[in-house]
């Protein structure tokens, strides 16, 4: 699947992709979940995280492989090139959308 067909990424997909990047070497489902919890305060169910990761892997935005950590085999995730491009395009799309919108000014105006 090409990166552009993934754009724009869903909010959950975007958050999970960024979290995979942020957790780098230890990108297991659980650490992705914890990273999202830590940064956004969103307490996702582990099943929802895995369902999204599966979908992202099927789309080609992440890939998973088995790594051995602490003596146990675990599924570890990494964002693919296509995934990075999809993130970049999503971000760019968002920036275009936000361009010229000054929330601070609006908030003081309506206050």
């Amino acid at each position: 699947m090409s990166a552009s067909s993934m754009v724009p990424l869903g909010v959950l997909e975007e958050q999970i992709l960024v979290a995979v990047i942020r957790t780098r070497d230890a990108a297991f489902g659980m650490s992705v979940r914890r990273e999202i919890k830590r940064v956004t305060g969103r307490d996702l169910a582990i099943g929802a995280v895995y369902a999204t990761l599966d979908r992202l892997e099927a789309k080609g935005a992440v890939k998973s492989r088995r790594v051995t950590s602490d003596g146990a085999s675990r599924r570890s995730f990494a964002v693919t090139r296509a995934g990075l491009r999809a993130l970049a395009e999503t971000q760019a799309m968002r920036e275009r959308l936000w361009k010229g919108v000054d929330l601070k000014a609006l908030q003081t105006a309506t206050a």
Binding site: G47, Y50, D54, R55, R75
Partner: protein, 880 residues
Amino acid sequence: MYPPRLPLAILRTVLPRAEREEIVADLIAEYREIAMAHGERNARAWIWRQALGTARALVPWALWRESTAFEPRANAYRPGGPMLKHFITDARYALRRLRARPTYALLSVLTLALGIGGTAAVYAIARPVLFDPLPYRNEKEVASFWMSFSWNEQEFTWLRGRFPGFQSVAMYNHRDLNLQGTGNETRLLSGVASSAELFDILGTKPALGNTFKTGDDVVGADPVAILSYGLWREMGGEQSIIGSRLTLNGIPRTVIGVMPRGFWFPTPEVRVWVPMQINPNGRNGSYALVGLVQPGKNPDHMEPDVDQLVSMLKGQFQYPVQWDKTKNAKVQSIHEGFVGPMRPALVATMAAMVLVLIIACVNVAALMLGQVESRASELAVRAALGANRNRLTQPLIVEALIIGVAAAAVGAGLAVAGFRVLTSALPLGAWGEAATFDWTLFVAALALSVVSALLVVMIPSASLWRSSAAGGLQNMLSRLRTGGVRGGGAMRTERTLVVIEMTVAMLIASSATLLVRSVANMYAIDPGIDTHNVAVIDASGTPTVPLAERNTTIEQAVAALKEMPGVENAAAAMRLPLRGNGNSTGISVVGRDSVQATTTYFRIGTLDYFSTMGIKLVSGRVFDATDQPGGTISVVINSALAKTYFPGENPIGRMIAGMYNVPQQIIGVVDDVAEGTLTAAPAPARYYLWSQVLGGFGTGVTFVVRAKRGTSDVAVLNEARQTLARAAPGFGIRNTTTMSRVMDQAVGPARNVMSLLTALSVLALVLGAVGIYGVMAHFATRRKRDWAIRVALGLSGTRVVGRVLSQGAVLVVIGVVVGAGATLLVSRLLSTFLFGVSGTDPVAFLGATAALLVTGMIASFIPARRAGKVDPALVLREEA
């Protein structure tokens, strides 16, 4: 600090197999951290959120993985999505297979649906009767007394306050009350008149107002009434009803209370309760008693107190043999008393239904087993590719569940229909009104179908497991190669299933035959009346109208009924035959002291009562125009009375005394009539002429109208209703029926249970035949090659047919023998319904055996004939 097990178990079940251990390990680790930081409570809440959130995400996740067949690269060596995925795969596969085999699918679904629908319908009826508690707070401490509706006011007044072992006792009987509305219309309400203690004994508090207080039941007390919740709602449901006045049977009564919703006593159709006006000398034995036992006593174990009560009764009252209250004295809990009589009918029906359900399950199991057999090669290939046992049986479970759910849908429809049929067919009376059709029935149907689906799948799964354990793949493949000649194991299971079916079918069929015989015996009893073509109208007059005036109205009404076209004769009577015991009074023969004062039934009818009812005259004469009021009154007696009181004498012209304080002369003897119950021995009875004795007791009167030949009693009934409305103003029509229905009611529950069991045994036979057909067809197909070789070697086609048929016959015979044994064991359950036939009646057993043998032979003949027509050249070439 280990997280609770249940959420972890949920997570383990739903997560993909490859990942579940690592994820659960992480969750446990995080649980510990949360528990450290925020306490165990928060951690528990968190793990529950995780489990439930994951379960919620499961359906879209599984559906998506199923439809895309996605498998993460990391799990390439341990494939398998979340739990549901396999189910979805299997469900799609099962649906395809079922669509490809419509006969199998249809047969399984219909078979199961019949069992489920019937069982669920019976459950819906049985639930309020057998399982729900009675709506009385004191249910556990309330007892009902023996000889229901035979106690009189005199006995009660004497015993009141000193019933041994009881805190208090109330008496009551049924009253139909004419409620006068604002306009001219009246409606008849089913009501109860009771002594003042009733509601305190039951312990149920009214929803509005009060219940009876002491003194409400004495002559001259202010007339009051308590309404049922339903009646109150119909009358507007205003709180202000308390204190308002209603005119019941012409008497204005103050409404003092409304009972809560769901309260009923003693039957659900009763809508109004009024206090009796107890006459301390009243001797009309028509009341029933309920009592609240003393604290600590068990209403089902009151024998010492009952013995004491009996000796009190013995000392005070003298009883004739037939109505001796000192015999068979027994009190029992109100639940037993109210529900007990219904129980055998329901248990018998319920048991038969469950058995039919079992037959249905066994049938589907046998059908599935055949399917598994024919899929041997496919299963062998799956096993070779690494499918384990669970993976092999799961498709079967899913297939069975699909059949189960489809059967539940069809079965729910059948349950609705069955419920309607059963409520009208079963002798449930008021219980039928209490049984309401609600969602529990659908839940029951669904639960039943899932349970039966799982039962069904156990058998083929077991056979699959056994064959894969005992040599696995080789076994399956070898069976495939030999065309199944060696595979005796599964056939043995199938044969066992058929034997079970036949056993159960035999059980139901022979029970049904027993009841058919018993009911036929009952109908064969001569009740002494001609029950054909007689319309019956129960009416009641207004008590405030003077007796003489009421009697004139009745005479005029009878005359008007006789004038109607299509009517042969008409009469009015106090109490019809076949409507149970009651109305008996003392008799003595004038000029003879040796005869103890005893009692006989007494009946009062108008002039043409005997000819209208078809009661035959034995000697003397029946009433005629010469019998006028005033002076000596005429009495007609029955043969039983003549035999008892005038053995070897001519009773005609003799004088008797009792009941009325005027001279009474016997003018004729008529045939014995089943005045009380159908099966009771002929009891002495005497008949008086309505115009001579100025009517019966109370305000009730029953009109009987004999239709001319060629006119139906039901048609006459409609016209009679209108005639009575015109000719008998002030009389409310309580009930209309026909004499043949009165007869049916007298035959009682046995008749209804019989029709139900007969229907069920037909169902059982049909299902059993389907089972035999399925198994024999499978048997014949599997051994097709075997037969072909034998035919090629010179065995004749007829011999082949014979072999298959005898195989079927053996199964049927074993089933019949085992089933006959089982019937002997359970016939005690039916004994309450049996009349004139023993539980071991050979005719019943032979009849059922014949029915089963014939059905079994027909069912196995079709596959047998097919096997006999086998063409060896074709078969051997095809399987080479």
